[in-house]
């Protein structure tokens, strides 16, 4: 039996009528209470009855609503795909409409929201690509996604595969930003090591200073910063000489 058959107008109409009736009764009770046209016992009794009727009505509406929550086989497949997607990405799902918003991070500071309509899965989903992504890729990034290009209705890929590929492309595009952030952390770390090395040197702890300056050189080499690397190589020679003099 289809849902539209289950949800007969009679069911909905009857519930709405009951609700309208209750609204009227509560309005009348309020008027009676304000004009003192009701005794305390009558008021309390009526209130209790109405609360009971409200409870019953709510249950009936929820029961009817529950009938819509039963999923068809197709909806179950979509629901499973969305669940799989939610295991790897942060998403907002509307399981009954087959639409979702997927949150992607291209770098620490760059995030995107991509809406997806997979209500026709196993047909290929439709991606609502935000304009900024389209602008970055000077055209339609969707046409570059191999997962979508090679879509097979017989053996459809998982939705999550599309987003993994999309995220990979975005991360590659924003690689420079990622590197800058990574380098920023390395530079901050190097600064700390230089301070520690200088303190050790001033205290005459040449071994410690030597090791710390060596770390500074490694970080500089990693950053391809030849100038700083050369500067601290000289510093190490200087420390070795001072250590020998001691």
């Amino acid at each position: 039996m289809g849902c539209s058959e289950v949800f007969s107008l009679l069911d909905y109409g009857a519930l709405e009528e009951q609700l309208g009736h209750l609204e009227g009764e509560i309005e009348d009770l309020k008027k009676n209470l304000e004009s003192k046209d009701i005794t305390k016992d009558d008021f309390e009794g009526k209130k209790l009855n109405l609360l009971e009727e409200i409870k019953k009505l709510r249950y009936e509406i929820e029961q009817l609503k529950e009938q819509f929550n039963a999923k068809s086989q197709e909806e179950k497949v979509i629901f499973d795909e969305l669940n799989l997607l939610s295991d790897q990405f942060q998403i907002d799902i509307d399981e009954y409409s087959g639409l979702a918003t997927v949150y992607l991070s291209a770098s620490i500071d760059t995030h995107f929201e991509v809406d997806v309509d997979c209500s026709k899965y196993p047909e290929p989903p439709y991606l609502f690509i935000p304009k900024e992504i389209d602008d970055f890729f000077k055209g339609n990034i969707v046409s570059e996604l191999k997962t979508l290009k090679k879509w097979s209705l017989k053996k459809p890929p998982h939705l999550v595969d599309i987003f993994k590929e999309l995220e990979k492309k975005l991360v590659a595009f924003f690689q420079r930003d990622n590197e800058i952030v990574e380098n920023r952390e390395k530079i901050a770390n190097r600064r700390k090591l230089i301070k520690l090395a200088q303190t050790a040197e001033e205290a005459g702890n040449f071994n410690e200073a030597f090791e710390l300056y060596k770390s500074v050189i490694y970080i500089s080499q990693d950053l391809k910063d030849k100038e700083t690397s050369a500067k601290y190589k000289e510093k190490i020679k200087e420390i070795e000489a001072r250590a020998k003099q001691q």
Partner: protein, 87 residues
């Protein structure tokens, strides 16, 4: 019946966009607005002769209608609970 592929594509996009906007409004508990958008989406789906879409969206609209009834129920319950006898 849409006259050409371009028109179908455009209507399909409109249908997806309407459903997507409606979904977000529903998630924000803006039920009346969501219902309105879903109703518009049904009109587009009918133009596309997509019975499957019509049926799917009608199901969502009916759930929204029931949620609206539940909101009214919550409101009268609150009103009733606030009524107290005063000497």
């Amino acid at each position: 019946m849409p006259s050409n592929n371009e028109e179908i594509e455009s209507q399909l996009y409109e249908l997806r966009a309407l459903r997507n906007r409606a979904r977000k409004q529903r998630a924000n508990n803006e039920l009346e607005q969501a219902k309105e958008l879903y109703s518009n989406a049904i009109d587009v789906a009918k133009k596309l002769k997509s019975n499957e879409d019509v049926e799917q969206i009608e199901k969502i609209v009916k759930k929204i209608e029931l949620d609206l009834l539940l909101q009214r129920v919550a409101k009268i319950e609150q009103n009733l609970n606030q009524m107290t006898w005063a000497e």
